[in-house]
């Protein structure tokens, strides 16, 4: 029971409390580059999810055999292997999406989020916890990609997952699906998360002082 609780906690930590994008601000390159539509965000999120999960499992299984001095290179080679698998699978199964994401699939290797989790978590924890962590972080990254993609798609072309949302009178903000829109949307989202954090801290503080009085 306690173990279940811990694994669940790791999962929620990645998904929300320590969300890799909104709280830790990691993995920005693939995040901004492919989120001009929700579906691309989803594909990129799933690809990263798979790579993160696969590499977490391998790293945590082999952690006692990997020499400390060359661990980073080992992690990168493990990650690159999984990315190659994803790259070739997508090219075979979903060529349209593969073409759309283009060079950004191989660039998952350089995603600092994945290497960061290997170094900070998978190489120090049991298989079970590493899988929970990978699920949480992968889901958190997926959540960020899809929400950013959805916002940009809704504002930029007036659609969500390809379905038109507004009538013919809608004037799309083309800038939102172009690079500047990515920067600005993420900036505004981070602002919102900062604001949430600040509000939460205020409430915590208030509760703490009230407890003190009582």
């Amino acid at each position: 029971m306690a173990k279940e609780q811990l694994a669940y906690d790791e999962f929620m930590k990645g998904l929300w409390r320590e969300n890799p994008v909104f709280v830790q601000v990691l993995g920005l390159c693939p995040l901004l580059a492919v989120t001009n539509s929700a579906i691309n965000g989803l594909a990129m999120g799933l690809a990263s999810f798979f790579v993160l999960l696969g590499s977490s499992i391998l790293v945590s299984l082999f952690k006692s055999y990997i020499p400390k001095q060359v661990r980073i290179s080992c992690f990168i080679i493990i990650i690159a292997t999984f990315v190659t698998v994803v790259d070739y699978t997508l090219a075979a199964a979903l060529p349209v999406i593969h073409k759309e994401l283009g060079a950004f699939i191989p660039l998952i290797v350089a995603n600092c989020l994945i290497l960061g989790r290997m170094e900070a978590f998978a190489s120090r924890n049991t298989l079970r916890m590493s899988v929970a962590d990978a699920f949480g972080m992968g889901a958190g990254f997926l959540f960020a990609l899809v929400s950013l993609g959805a916002v940009r798609e809704i504002l930029g072309v007036g659609e969500i997952f390809g379905f038109a949302l507004f009538g013919a009178n809608f004037e799309p903000w083309v800038i939102m699906i172009l690079p500047p829109g990515g920067f600005i949307t993420l900036g505004v989202m981070l602002l919102y998360f900062n604001w949430l954090e600040e509000k939460k801290n205020k409430i915590d503080k208030q509760l703490a002082t009230e407890d003190g009085v009582n």
Partner: protein
Amino acid sequence: MGDLGWIFISTLLINNFVLAYFLGLCPFLGVSNKLEVSFRLGLATIFVMVVTALCAWFLNTYVLIHAPYLRLISFIVVIASVVQLIEMAIKKTSPTLFRALGIFLPLITTNCAILGLAIFATNKGYGLWEGLVYALGAGMGFTLAIVLMAGMRQEVEKVNAMPKLIRGFAFNLIISGILSMAFMGFAGLFSSS
């Protein structure tokens, strides 16, 4: 201007690696708080990019035609080791250059702009000279973007009236958005010619 000139201008301004392709955002947002430091980081990036283009060309021409599925792994391993070797060589031969570039070299190697450069150059089918010019343009474009960003951030730091909430990443991203919008104007260079 010939093809090489266009490749250079296009990667320097129009398809700027940072502002149009979102490559190398980590150093762009992380190390851009001091003008001097970001300029040196830019120089080191140009250097690593040119080395990368050379390595990528060599691998593509002589090694990877036999095993294309090893592209990703070999790019990373070869580029990282070559940069490491050059770093050692610089340390021995020129301490001044090492002080200027040294600490950044290993950091840059794991940057997505470097791997991105190698992959883009391969996908576009560039030869040796085109690849080198492409690398030079991309590196200088990165330097330009990070120096502009650092300049703006230094000025913004002086403003005390800015609320605490907006300081930090959120604000930097919004400045980058505006900078990126300004760079989009360069797209007109191609259509007018």
